[in-house]
């Protein structure tokens, strides 16, 4: 009897079922919107959805690693903006070659993440507080460095191509997002960092006792998250052809919502990259679909909120 129950449980609990659930919801949303509006399932619109997912999706990918450790990173939104502003400073103000500006911008994101990691691992400040501080610092610094003005990439038209150039009609930003998702998935499932990532999230003390250098890996994971939001910043700047210093706040919540919809547990220890990718798509299909149907914005926000809670509830049932 008991055996039967656990068997049933484990079937429902399996990762495959979970992914199927999330993927199924995405397909259902897609079908519903396609039926509701003839303009939804068009190539241009789908490309638009993919493009709208790219920046948010990369933020979500980065924060997935952090959430699997049982932590949180609230600085991804404004950290992204900081990276964008620094990229603009490197390329426009300092006249550095674009490639150096881009790498520099990404590394600036990494630096923010590294500092987050040090504060969390070495100074033992809770992640929520440490990254909340970074969120404000990054926001303030972006405004200070840019002089509260947007910085434009008008002298370097190639810069826009990083996100907006296209192959077979698919914008580079989308291709970069998929590529980054594959890399993230490999890191999470095939490397030591990925293994330890889960170990930290499941039981930090056990990980410590089994000889894992917990602090060092934590710092690495927050740095990795920083590199992701650095890259998101470069892509955002490229798409807008400018670094907008007042942007970014609020983006962390959308990204975290995508991760949660994708089945990663906020208490740590569980999560997949594919789940996050699907979660990010659910978010943008939802917003795009509701917009196409001209649903008033107020209701769009309500619907998104309900879906986030529903996703987590489903996840809780699944784990019971």
């Amino acid at each position: 009897m008991e055996n039967k129950v656990t068997q049933k449980k484990s079937l429902f609990r399996s990762d495959a079922t979970q992914k199927l659930l999330a993927f199924g919801s995405l397909i259902i949303l897609f079908i519903v919107f396609s039926l509701a509006s003839p303009n939804f399932a068009k190539f241009d619109n789908i490309v638009g959805i993919l493009l709208a997912t790219a920046v948010n999706g990369i933020l979500a990918l980065g924060v997935t690693f952090v959430i699997i450790t049982g932590g949180i990173d609230l600085s991804i939104g404004t950290g992204m903006t900081f990276a964008a502003v620094m990229t603009a400073v490197f390329i426009t103000n300092w006249k550095l070659p674009i490639i150096i500006g881009v790498v520099g911008g990404i590394l600036m994101g990494g630096l923010c993440g590294f500092i987050n990691g040090i504060i969390i691992a070495k100074m033992k400040v809770p992640p929520f507080v440490a990254t909340l501080g970074m969120m404000m610092v990054a926001k303030g610094l972006s405004l200070v460095i840019s002089g509260t003005k947007p910085i434009y990439f008008n002298d370097t038209p190639i810069f826009r191509e990083i996100a907006m150039g296209s192959i077979f009609g698919i914008p580079n930003a989308v291709l970069i997002f998929f590529l980054v998702a594959i890399i993230a998935s490999i890191i999470l499932t095939r490397t030591v960092l990925g293994r330890y990532n889960f170990a930290l999230g499941s039981n930090e003390e056990a990980a410590r006792l089994s000889g894992i250098n917990v602090d060092a890996w934590k710092i690495s994971i927050y740095t990795l998250c920083g590199i992701f939001f650095g890259l998101a910043g470069v892509l955002m700047a490229s798409r807008l052809n400018s670094a907008q210093p007042s942007l970014g706040q609020g983006y962390e919540l959308d990204a975290i919502a995508a991760v949660v919809i994708g089945g990663t547990s906020l208490s740590g220890g569980e999560g997949t990259i594919l789940g996050t990718v699907i979660g990010a798509f659910i978010m943008s299909v939802l917003t795009n679909g509701l917009r196409i149907l001209s649903v008033p914005q107020e209701w769009q926000t309500v619907v998104t909120g309900v879906i986030v809670v529903m996703a987590v509830y489903l996840d809780i049932i699944r784990r019971r």
Binding site: G48, T148, M164, R239, L247, R291
Partner: protein, 344 residues
């Protein structure tokens, strides 16, 4: 044991509440007592500043924001007036235009400094009324700028008539699309006065005067360029026959321009904007955007401080100071009349 803890917790809470209430009561009492004293103090201060001219009149300006280039231009105008009239100003505003509570706090802090007058661009015209009443009681004249308040406490308001200006944008739109077709609107938000006025100004004029023009969608992008871009794309996608697009502020219009560009609809959709900024100026020069309405932000800042100085001196002021608006396009963008009103 558990029960004891529970009782203890409740007791502690009660003590805290009582302490808080007592604190409030205490706070209020000395305030009432000190009011006449404060008045006396300010009177002596006044007489002091009268005798020793070194102490400048202080006027705080509470704006809706400070990051946006528009507010930087308002600040610039205010600083110029401060110099001309030899007064001291401070210019502050919340980080974004939905932080009503933060602005209320700033207003409270400014009032606590006991200024001679105060200039306010209210984010929420009703939320600030209790504080304005306080200002009135303390004889501090309030000058509105950029947007009005639903109250007659402000001595005057220096602002663009947004309804009129957006209606002018609607007329231009009608002219440029030949009086018929589908148009869409992206507005920054649905709660602020400027958002409401610009939306209604545009929409009502179209409804009243141009029966063949259909407004197919009105959406709100929060002034966020990236969100407004995806918004604009979705609207264009949903309405392939769209002939015109109106963006009601800088962030919104940049979104519209990006959307039009990414959908390869440059030149196929008549784009009309509001305010200024480098991207919009470039788009108008290159012909992607037909033109835009500009307010006079420098004039708004200047006239607000000027009005405050006049109010302190006891001069009579009109209820509204219309700071005007202008239509600009390729033909007049570099003219002497328009150029000073635009900012990059």
């Amino acid at each position: 044991m558990k029960k004891v803890k529970k009782i203890l917790a409740v007791a502690v809470c009660l003590v805290l509440v009582v302490a808080l209430l007592a604190g409030c009561g205490q706070k209020e009492q000395p305030k009432q007592e000190s009011k006449p004293a404060e008045n006396q103090q300010s009177q002596t201060q006044q007489s002091q500043s009268g005798s020793s001219s070194s102490e400048k009149i202080y006027i705080p300006l509470i704006s809706k924001g400070f990051q946006h280039q528009f507010w930087q231009a308002v600040k610039q105008g205010a600083e110029k007036a401060a110099k001309d009239y030899n007064v001291e100003i401070t210019f502050e505003g919340p980080e974004n235009e939905s932080m009503v509570d933060k602005q209320v706090e700033m207003l409270q802090a400014a009032l606590n400094k006991n200024p001679k007058a105060i200039c306010l661009a209210a984010l929420d015209s009703k939320a600030v009324i209790p504080l304005l009443e306080k200002a009135k009681a303390a004889n501090i004249p309030v000058i509105g700028f950029d947007s009005g308040v639903d109250s007659d406490i402000p001595v005057t308001t220096a602002a663009t008539d947004n309804v009129k200006a957006a209606a002018a944008a609607a007329d231009k739109m009608a002219e440029l699309i030949g009086g018929k077709g589908e148009v869409a609107v992206i507005v920054h938000d649905q709660t602020s006065r400027t958002g409401i006025d610009r939306r209604d100004g545009f929409v009502n004029r179209i409804k009243e005067k141009y029966p063949d023009i259909k407004i197919v969608d009105i959406q709100y992008g929060g002034g966020d360029q990236l969100k407004s871009t995806d918004l604009a794309k979705a609207i264009i996608q949903a309405h392939p026959n769209l002939k015109g697009f109106f963006g009601a502020n800088e962030g919104s219009i940049i979104g519209v321009l990006n959307g039009v560009k990414e959908m390869n609809k440059e030149g196929k959709i008549v784009v009309i904007g509001y305010d200024s900024g480098k991207q919009q100026i470039d788009a108008i020069k290159s012909g992607v955007e037909a033109g835009a309405i500009t307010q006079d932000p420098i004039g708004i800042g200047y006239k607000a401080v000027e009005a405050a100085v006049k109010a302190i001196k006891g001069e009579q002021l009109p209820k509204v100071i219309d700071t005007g608006f202008h239509w600009y396009d390729k033909t007049n963008i570099d003219s002497d009349e328009i150029k000073p009103l635009l900012y990059e």
